[in-house]
């Protein structure tokens, strides 16, 4: 065995990314025990949208009985950014309603709420596939779509959308096992316990994409996980899958940073890994793929690190999607108090939550309970440049801050704000303790809003211009038709005062129209006869408002035109 292990070398990488931080890991505390399984909660709250993109469409109704693994919401179109959702346990759908979801700005979303029956009964029609590589790429892709798998490392991007090349043929699969943020260990323990399934998943994905080459990037502070992967790799004897040890440096797990560390390639500005033939998947996602294909288990649970100095029993747990965080925390010795912060995710990029009344979702990799940090007073920026030294995107955070404060959004874009990955390295080192990332988020939102507004008014103007054009075209066409008719008449009848006749007819017709309109109006006006002064005043007010609005819109279009 030892010989075999040695035959699988762990390569060290020769590349690195700009900046980054060496952070205290805080990883040991949650790695004392293996992965525990969380109790099935009484109620599951499953958001229809757990990632960027569009919500899934429910396929059950209130009152339906569901079984574990049954699809409860689906996607209309496999190319849209949506993923299917399955019942994490058996029970009854008691509501489809809005509920708070863990998000940066306290959003709510439509959620399916299932009252569990405690039996945890599986759907009987589950079909495991023993030999996935015998299936076609399209079949595998369809199975992955049906299993509702999304990226479990970060933003939860639907996995099936990252299985085909869009612009350039893919040549390299990169597996992200870096897990660079402090406290989080869910990937490390999953590797230690399920390395075989992970390697199988890599093979499935390679087969689905139709490529051979794979690099697994893992930080060197996880020797046991590295060993587990080595062992699993030794059993398959496949040399196109390479394990690469990278230095522990935050944020090595950022997609573009990891690509650079593993391959030395920089993903060009405003492009995706796809564009340089690379696709990245998180290690937990790969594990979910194996479970979906080989065991027929859709994505209904994930490993969550529940940790922090304020918990008595920090550990990693297998948690059903939709489990209220409160239930998970209760199993780890959590007591509510005012001197602690509750965070979903890690301390650098996580989201602060105001309570534990949120469900665990597909992207919940960590629930962190820490002693509340004293927030130091923010002082002015002294342009020391520490932030630029640590910025993994090689930006000038001090200049971005300066121009954001000045609301000079054009300049902010010149300084490439959209390359910012919000990793928080600049926040961490800032000697003035300025919450820089908050400023960048603000600037990004502001730029997006302005752009959306501009698009909207552009669209309105285009429509208006097209209408003008249509009216004029119609006028011209009518005139032409009339002239033709007239010419034709003249030809037929000789030159017998046709003009006078047509004029007379026109006048008569016009008079008739006016009369008609008058009588119409009289009919309408009956509603406004005998109004009290108060009612009349109200109507006038409404009329005035309408006029003002029209005027304003006109002014706006004028301004836009200028």
């Amino acid at each position: 065995m030892q010989d075999k292990l040695n035959s699988i070398p762990v390569r060290k990488t020769q590349w690195k990314f700009h900046g980054g931080l060496k952070l205290a890991g805080h990883k040991k505390q949650s790695m004392q025990t293996g992965i525990a399984t969380a109790i099935v909660p009484e109620q599951l709250i499953i958001p229809l949208q757990q990632h960027i993109g569009r919500p899934a469409k429910p396929v059950i109704t209130i009152g339906d009985k569901v079984l574990k693994g049954q699809c409860i919401a689906t996607l209309k179109d496999p190319t849209s950014i949506t993923a299917a959702i399955h019942a994490p346990s058996s029970g009854e759908v008691i509501a489809i309603e809005t509920h708070a979801i863990p998000s940066m700005n306290r959003q709510t979303a439509n959620c399916i709420i299932i009252k569990t029956d405690g039996e945890d009964r599986w759907l009987p029609s589950i079909k495991p596939v023993d030999n996935p590589t015998s299936l076609s790429s399209d079949t595998l892709k369809q199975l992955i779509i049906e299993a509702g798998i999304v990226g479990l490392g970060g933003a939860g991007f639907p996995t099936h959308l990252k299985l085909t090349a869009e612009t350039k043929p893919l040549d390299t699969l990169i597996i992200n096992a870096a897990e660079c943020e402090p406290y989080i260990t869910c990937d490390a323990v999953l590797i230690e316990e399920q390395a075989d399934k992970i390697i199988q998943g890599i093979q499935i994905i390679l087969h689905t994409i139709g490529i051979q080459h794979c690099l697994i990037g893992i930080e060197d502070d996880k020797p046991q996980a590295i060993q587990a992967l080595q062992k699993a790799l030794a059993t398959i004897n496949n040399h196109t899958i390479q394990l690469i040890q990278i230095p522990t440096r935050y944020p090595a797990g950022g997609e573009k940073q990891l690509i650079q560390v593993l391959t030395g390639k920089e993903v060009p500005l405003n492009k995706l890994p796809h564009d340089i033939g690379i696709v990245c998947h998180n290690i937990a996602t790969v594990h979910a793929v194996t479970e979906a294909i080989k065991e027929g288990k859709p994505l209904i649970e994930r490993v969550v690190t529940v940790t922090g100095d304020k918990l008595q029993q920090p550990k990693n747990m297998r948690v059903l999607i939709g489990t209220p965080m409160q239930d998970v925390l209760n199993e780890c010795g959590y007591t509510e108090s005012n001197d602690q912060s509750l965070i979903m995710g890690g301390p650098m990029m996580g989201i602060h939550l105001d309570s534990a009344d949120y469900p665990v979702i597909k992207t919940t990799n960590c629930i962190l309970v820490r002693k509340k940090q004293k927030q130091p007073v923010a002082l002015p920026c002294i342009r020391c440049g520490e932030c630029a030294r640590v910025c993994p995107a090689n930006l000038l955070p001090q200049q971005l801050y300066w121009y954001t404060r000045a609301k000079d959004l054009d300049r902010v874009q010149d300084y490439q704000i959209f390359s910012c990955i919000e990793c928080g390295c600049c926040d961490y080192v800032c000697p003035s303790h300025i919450p820089l990332v908050q400023f960048y988020r603000y600037a990004k939102t502001e730029i997006w809003t302005q752009e959306a507004d501009r698009k909207k008014s552009d669209h309105a103007r285009e429509r208006h211009e097209y209408r003008q054009f249509r009216l004029e075209r119609k006028k011209a066409e009518d005139a032409e038709r009339k002239a033709k008719k007239k010419a034709l008449l003249n030809k037929k009848q000789g030159i017998k005062t046709p003009e006078q006749d047509s004029k007379k007819a026109a006048i008569e017709a016009a008079l008739k129209r006016v009369k008609e309109r008058q009588s119409e109006q009289a009919a309408i006006a009956k509603n406004t006869e005998g109004l009290t002064d108060e009612q009349q005043k109200k109507i006038d007010e409404v009329e005035q408002r309408r006029k003002n609005k029209l005027q304003k819109e006109k002014l706006n279009t004028k301004l836009e035109d200028n």
Partner: protein, 330 residues
């Protein structure tokens, strides 16, 4: 909300700067007596008082801004640049101007375009040229009490000031070479101002500032670009013009305020260029200006004007030296 932060703070940076100045101050005292310490005491008291008044007027919280230590650093740097036999009002005017006009009128710490200490120094140099040239000679016998007496009452009682003071090395060389004397002849005629390899006393003070500066680099309080580019440009300039000026690169590197500027003045982050490449250009620019003014300008040393000139250029330099963002070069 920030969950994890590095232990750094502005206060820590400023304290480091002050610690790093200590060797230079000690060397200064050894060669020129207590005058510089008295300068520093008066300057710091003035700076803190003026800072508090300005913060009150601007309705800013006193404690966090006083604790940042930037006013003290400005005061000490200006005190080190002033003659070591200066009346209190000279220091008071210089420091007040530096803090009020140089800093607060621009919006306070972080918003001032010019190095406050150098603004104060330039004002004094232009307004009080006579007082700015009264320098004690090295190895003088003035006691602390006598120095203090001079600072407060502008008199040395029974001692003749002229007997205790003399032009600085840079000043002597400039004046004499202006009269057509060769460097060797100047050295022979005024041995009192020359030491082992540069100005007497000044060579050791410069070495001590270099030592403190290297510690700042080691502690990562300052980045390498500014000191390296500044020292490099002084070196290249003095080497290029060595045949004409007869003053060696060593004489320039360890003369006047070269090392103080390289590690403590030009490195003021607020007024310097903020990009890595920009810092190289910025500091090299100061070196060029400082050398030109030192050799051919109307003042014995050109560092203050060099710094102020490059302060003006810093925003433009920053704009044109933005590093390529991730993926931008491919």
């Amino acid at each position: 909300m920030m969950e994890m932060t590095a232990p750094g703070s502005i206060t820590r940076i400023m304290l480091h700067v002050l610690y790093a100045l200590i060797p230079g101050i000690i060397a200064y005292v050894i060669f020129f007596g207590w005058g510089v310490v008295i300068n520093i005491i008066i300057a710091v008291i003035t700076a803190l008082t003026v800072e508090v008044v300005m913060l009150l007027l601007r309705k800013r919280p006193i404690k966090p801004y006083i604790m940042d230590g930037s006013a003290v650093v400005t005061a000490v740097l200006l005190a080190l640049a002033l003659p070591n036999l200066a009346p209190w009002w000279l220091i008071f005017i210089g420091v007040s101007f530096a803090i009020i006009v140089g800093k607060h009128l621009y919006g306070g710490l972080g918003y001032n375009p010019f190095n406050p200490a150098m603004i104060g120094y330039a004002l004094l140099l232009i307004s009080f040229p006579l007082e700015m040239t009264i320098w004690l000679q090295p190895d003088n016998t003035l006691s602390f009490a006598q120095s203090l007496n001079y600072a407060l009452f502008s008199t040395l009682n029974n001692i003749d000031i002229d007997a205790m003071t003399m032009a600085t090395t840079l000043d002597t060389v400039k004046t004499q070479s202006g009269l057509g004397q060769s460097f060797a002849a100047i050295q022979a005629s005024a041995p009192a101002v020359f030491g082992q390899f540069a100005g007497k006393g000044w060579e050791w003070i410069n070495l001590a500032f270099l030592l403190g500066g290297l510690w700042l680099l080691y502690r990562r309080v300052i980045s390498w670009q500014i000191p390296v580019a500044f020292i490099g440009s002084i070196f290249i300039m003095s080497l290029l013009f060595y045949p004409f000026t007869e003053t060696s690169p060593i004489y320039h590197l360890f003369g006047g305020a070269t090392m103080l500027c390289a590690f403590f003045i030009a490195t003021d982050p607020v007024t310097a260029s903020t990009t890595p490449t920009g810092r190289l250009i910025y500091a090299a620019g100061i070196g060029v200006f400082a050398y030109i003014i030192r050799m051919w300008g109307g003042y014995p040393d050109g560092i203050a004007f060099g710094v102020l000139l490059m302060n003006m250029a810093a925003p433009t330099i920053d704009y044109y030296t933005r590093p390529k963002a991730f993926g931008e070069s491919t």
